[in-house]
Symmetry: C2
Subunit: 108 residues, 2 copies
Amino acid sequence: MNTKSAVLLLASIAQEARLEIFRLLVQVGADGLAAGVVGKTLQIPPSTLSFHLKELNISGLVKSRQVGRYIYYSANYEEMNSLLAYLTENCCASKAICYPDVICNETH
Amino acid sequence: MNTKSAVLLLASIAQEARLEIFRLLVQVGADGLAAGVVGKTLQIPPSTLSFHLKELNISGLVKSRQVGRYIYYSANYEEMNSLLAYLTENCCASKAICYPDVICNETH
DNA sequence: ACATGGTTTCCATATTTATGGAAATATAGA
DNA sequence: TCTATATTTCCATAAATATGGAAACCATGT
């Protein structure tokens, strides 16, 4: 992970529709959902949905697979995991307050 | 935490210069750094730096305090923590692969 | 081959965001 | 008060991003 790729991942969820799509997929689990179901659930018109799914897919945060004439989209947990690790990396120099109840790799 | 505020936080670090600034501050710790030091470290011209620091400050991911004629900027770990929690919330419905070596609140 | 339903591409438009020089503002020290 | 240094605001410009209708594309079942 490096700055540029982290920015791509972050940008792909730094948008209202896409963040909702991503969270929906995270909560649905590994199987994911067909594009149409996502669109109906979140009330997003087809072309707009397709645009956002493409963005998420390009960044790598969302995977897709064809099942008959449906295309299933699912969260890529591994990629998200790398991003989270990168964001908390080397936190923090002081023993003082850091990431309170989360992952802090450092030996305080 | 809700979609809109998470998007603001994400957008504030979904940009190369700002992500570098944020990570620098995360690694420096609670005391933070004066704006000028950040600029010199990352080679960012004053007005551009100020623009980005403002963005980070508005989102809440970065705090600022005046010390003499310097303005110190520091990472807001609590806010970042909330964001990370929100992103991993209710992951994931299936017992299958989830967030491999990170925080998964669910009882698999 | 045709019809149906799911999904994507094309396109024009509107909006948001990033950049950095120059000027303005603020704080501290002589 | 004058000067030096730190930081921000102003501004014009350039570039990237979001939206959704219409048309095209692609699988499946008849």
